[in-house]
């Protein structure tokens, strides 16, 4: 076996070892942070190493495992695409290894079972790694189910709260509906290719109709897992209720595994791209991006807000993938590679900054036991390191230069702006509209994260326990610091990153981006220098030099010292903490402008004691439009079927027999 696969096997082995080791935590809870989570982090490091080997070498290595069915041994394969996603999974896992030990310390005295937390986290990681490595549909589906089921137990970890159990059940249900669609999609490919191995599926001769059926099933299944609108409603329920380091893994990494599945299925296994699919994917991506950020904007629960923002970012990734399909389907290989690289770049970026932001939310939760933004305030002075790292996260996710989120959005814009090369006038006008949606999304994301940072970290504390917040332990700060540093690094050195990622489209699409990094490490030039160029290191350098100059001038005493005084506030009485703008107030103008897209219940109630009470509930329209009808249909169907349940065993046996007979008749 090649070294890359060895390392990947080591990663899976370490993940399973961490799952096994957590059995010991029944007796010694300390082992969770002393043994289980360090093993978990090491598994992440091994996965990063395996991924980098695959990306740098750009070769494909395969192996057959001595497991599986007699006629279908499990096959694994490590190519550039798998390598990229291995590295993505590994980076966040490694940071969790640093962050987790201090975070779970609070659970040691709690009533929640620790072996569940450690064991299923290990299985969850092993499942994700195997999904990425699988080379046949059987192993893929097994690993996929391991990933979905073990994450269910992590979501339901705090099971005392009925809302959490409900969220977890919804998650389980959606994961299985999605899994079913994926299974059927593989069924189409397997029946035409004559085998469950991916090699056979690649060779399957598909008509456009059957290929579209397979594509639709895959888009449905993977899109559901990725939380695309309108199938996203489970995501903001399930992700926030897990412990924060698991939320980081679910939002940052597991959603990317769905992206991996989509890419593997559509770009690699089906192989032939059609621009009609690209239009559908771009449209759904744009819608997800816009609605995701709008719903994020009106949330007051920090973790829920971050979960909605994941819907937005997955939308941006799918815009890139949709553009890649359009370009590939119309024979523009180079542009397809550009859009593809943009999507992958955003995938890794989102893993980094969403992991970072969930870590930050976890640090606040750890320190204040608070998730509600309207109770926070002034945390920057109480938790300076978390405040700094969280600021990096918000700048990155708001796509501001010189951080990483900007680079991937810039690349997506560049891909969209090449639409003039297309023949069809419809596509030429549709794609820039998608770009405009992306621009609106970016601006709204900035508004959303100004709200988050301004309300949580700036101003004055709005409640007593937040006023008593303290610095979190070193490990938690280190986990955040690693991700914050990577956010900056990926923003300042985009040429190096693109150099690495470029191996993926070269293998999958047969086309790299030769021009992108051809003009030295300073210049990112996706198509040609005259078309567009971005000198990220130079911008970061100038910003740094000027900032240092300002600090130097302030420190040297050439500038007069600032004097402290009461706030001015137009000369009114000194403002109290309750006079500050709240998160609800901040979002009010945008909520009003986009009122049509929300389900808003707002009323003022007169209480018995004469006090007035303002109630505001902002809901998700997707629930009423797409979920409630299904729930009603299932319930009414169940009400009919329940008549079969007479309680008489002989009648049940009769039903079983007749079902068997019908089935035998069908297959014979």
């Amino acid at each position: 076996m090649a070294i890359g696969l060895d390392l990947a096997a080591l990663a899976v082995g370490l993940a399973l070892a961490s799952a096994l080791a957590s059995a010991l935590t029944i007796r010694a809870p300390r082992l969770l942070r002393l043994l289980v989570l360090p093993l978990f982090g090491l598994a992440g490091a091994a996965a990063v190493a395996a991924g980098l080997v695959a990306l740098v070498r750009g070769e494909v290595s395969t192996a057959v495992l001595p497991l599986g069915l007699p006629w279908l041994p499990w096959q694994v394969r490590l190519d550039a695409l798998s390598g990229f996603f291995l590295a993505l999974i590994g980076v966040v896992t490694f940071a969790v290894g640093l962050y987790g030990p201090a975070y779970v310390r609070g659970f040691e005295r709690g009533r929640d079972p620790l072996p569940v937390l450690g064991g299923f986290a290990g299985l969850f990681l092993a499942g994700m790694l195997l999904v990425v490595l699988a080379d046949d549909a059987f192993l893929f589906m097994v690993a996929w189910e391991v990933m979905s089921l073990s994450s269910y137990f992590l979501v339901v970890f705090h099971h005392d709260n009925p809302a959490n159990r409900r969220a977890a059940f919804l998650y389980l249900l959606m994961a299985h509906v999605g899994g079913l669609a994926i299974l059927l999609g593989y069924g189409v490919l397997a029946s035409f290719g004559g085998g469950f191995g991916f090699e056979a599926m690649r060779a399957a001769p598909l008509s456009f109709g059957w290929a579209s059926v397979a594509f639709s099933l895959a888009f449905l299944g993977f899109g559901m897992k990725a939380g695309l609108v309108p199938l996203h409603a489970w995501l903001p329920e399930a992700h926030p209720v897990a412990p924060s380091h698991i939320s980081a893994l679910m939002s940052g990494v597991m959603l990317k595994v769905a992206v991996y599945g989509f890419i593997r299925f559509v770009f690699d296994l089906i192989g032939e791209a059609h621009w009609q699919w690209g239009v559908a994917v771009t449209a759904v991506g744009s819608l997800s991006a816009l609605l995701g950020v709008l719903y994020a904007l009106v949330q007051n629960d920090l973790k829920r807000l971050l979960a909605y923002s994941s819907v937005e970012n997955l939308g941006i990734i799918f815009i890139g993938l949709g553009l890649a399909l359009v370009f590939q389907g119309t024979g523009q290989g180079l542009l397809a590679a550009l859009a593809f690289v943009a999507a992958l770049y955003h995938a890794i970026n989102h893993a980094l900054f969403k992991g970072l932001l969930f870590f930050g939310a976890g640090a606040i939760l750890h320190s204040t036991h608070e998730r509600d933004l309207d109770q926070m305030g002034g945390l920057l002075r109480r938790m300076p390191w978390t405040g700094l790292f969280f600021l990096v996260g918000t700048l990155s996710i708001s796509a501001l230069p010189p951080f990483n989120g900007f680079v991937s959005e810039w690349l997506t814009f560049q891909a969209a702006l090449q639409a003039w090369q297309l023949e069809s006038g419809v596509l030429r006008s549709l794609i820039p509209i998608a770009a405009a949606m992306l621009a609106l999304t970016g601006a709204l994301a900035a508004a959303c994260f100004v709200k988050v940072y301004g309300v949580a970290f700036l101003g004055q504390a709005r409640s007593r326990h937040v006023r008593r917040a303290r610095q979190v332990p070193l490990g938690m700060r280190a986990g955040q610091g690693v991700l914050a540093f990577l956010c900056l690094l990926f923003g300042v050195l985009p040429t190096r990153v693109v150099d690495l990622i470029e191996a993926v489209p070269r293998q999958i699409l047969g086309q790299g981006l030769p021009e992108a990094t051809a003009h030295g490490w300073l210049w990112l030039t996706p198509v040609a220098p005259a078309t567009a160029s971005y000198g990220a290191p130079l911008i970061a350098f100038v910003l740094l030099v000027l900032a240092l100059l300002a600090v130097w001038a302030a420190r040297r005493g050439t500038l007069r010292r600032a004097r402290r005084c009461d706030p001015w506030d137009c000369g009114f009485a000194p403002p109290g903490a309750r006079m500050q703008y709240t998160a609800t107030a901040f979002a009010q103008p945008l909520r009003r402008v986009f009122a049509l897209l929300f389900r808003i219940e707002e009323r003022v109630e007169q209480r018995e004691n004469g006090l007035l009470r303002h109630r505001l509930v902002v809901g998700d329209r997707a629930w009423g439009l797409f979920y409630a009808p299904v729930v009603r249909a299932v319930e009414s169907a169940a009400a009919r079927i329940v008549r079969l349940q007479s309680g008489n065993v002989r009648i049940y046996l009769g039903w079983t027999l007749s079902t068997l007979l019908v089935l035998l008749w069908i297959i014979s």
């Binding site: 702006l417 820039p432 101003g459 567009a532 706030p567 506030d569 901040f586 979002a587």
Partner: protein, 321 residues
């Protein structure tokens, strides 16, 4: 010789960036002067904004007890980011190396970075006005930014480039032809510029009436050199938008080479264009009233619509031709 050329072009780029910062208060002074004339006042001298900045830079800084580090860092970040954005916009000459560092999307990104810190600074002290200003600023910018990018995309698709220098070159090479898409994009960009620089009818730079402020509400707590930097950054931003409109839509006169005669001509040309634009802005601010906040979305949607029409006009009418 080659090195000499490179060094001189970088030197000129630096000079142009400095010129940008140095000229910005003058444009504001000019707009105020014209406005005063239109209102039958004599008005403050043209150089008054420089005097204000000088005075503020020398004053003591007062910082609220409740302010954090971010409050004190924000003026520097805002000024540096705005200035960096401005230095990538061709002011006098096209063939400068700074245009390659940052294309128009990066310029928009840097302005967004400045705005992000401006809004955060508004929320830092924890006063009601600061939060109000930040919330409104983000509303306006969230709606203005897509319109701006759409308008720019129209130009970028015509020029097949998002590089500002290439866009100007393409415009010069195309000659004086009437493109419907350009007219729409110009309209959109003008509306966006009014909104983004906080001018009437979206915001009023002269107001300190509590409930109508947007930009002023965010910098309410600033004093001394911090306030000077914030004000200066706003002036640079106004100049940036003015130059963007002047040099992209009417690039004639801009220096194509680095010859001294061309540069002088370029400077004179951009000065003339800016004088005209400033006078137009003053006229508009005199005849228009400030809108209610919730009318601003309609104003910005008009900008978005114009930009969209420009884009579709370009795609439908001009690409095949």
């Amino acid at each position: 010789m080659d090195y000499l050329l490179i060094a001189s072009s970088w030197g000129l780029a630096l000079l142009q960036a400095l010129l940008f910062a140095a000229l910005a208060p003058l444009l504001v002074g000019w707009v105020r002067k014209v406005k005063a004339w239109l209102q039958n006042r004599r008005g403050a001298p043209l150089l008054q904004p420089y005097r204000d900045l000088y005075k503020l830079l020398g004053k003591e800084v007062r910082v609220a007890h409740t302010a954090s580090v971010l409050f004190r860092a924000a003026p520097y970040v805002v000024f540096i980011a705005t200035w960096l954005a401005a230095s990538a916009v061709p002011l006098v000459a096209v063939a400068l190396p700074t245009a390659a560092i940052a294309d128009i999307i990066v310029v928009v990104g840097l302005l967004a970075l400045a705005r992000f810190f401006l809004a955060l600074a508004g929320m830092d002290v924890g006063t009601a006005f600061g939060g109000m200003g930040a919330s409104r600023e983000m509303l306006v910018s969230a709606l203005a930014e897509p319109a701006m990018l759409m308008a720019v995309f129209t130009l970028a698709m015509t020029a097949h480039s998002t590089n500002l220098a290439s866009v100007v070159d393409a415009q010069l090479a195309g000659g004086l032809v009437l493109r419907p898409s350009y007219l729409f994009a110009l309209g959109a960009l003008v509306l966006v510029a009014l909104a983004e620089t906080g001018r009437i009818p979206v915001d009023n730079p002269a107001t300190h009436l509590e409930l109508t402020m947007i930009h002023e509400a965010m910098i309410l707590e600033y004093s001394g050199r911090h306030l000077a930097l914030m004000e200066w950054a706003a002036q640079v931003k106004l100049l940036l938008y003015g130059v963007l409109i002047a040099n992209i839509f009417l690039p004639w006169g801009i220096a194509g080479s680095l010859a001294p005669a061309d540069l002088v001509l370029g400077l004179a040309a951009v000065a003339l264009k800016l004088l005209a634009l400033g006078a137009a802005l003053a006229l508009a601010e005199t005849v228009l009233a400030k809108m209610r906040l919730f009318r601003a979305p309609a104003f910005l949607n008009l900008a978005l619509l114009l930009a969209l029409l420009g884009l579709l006009g370009h795609v439908i009418l001009e690409v095949g031709a």
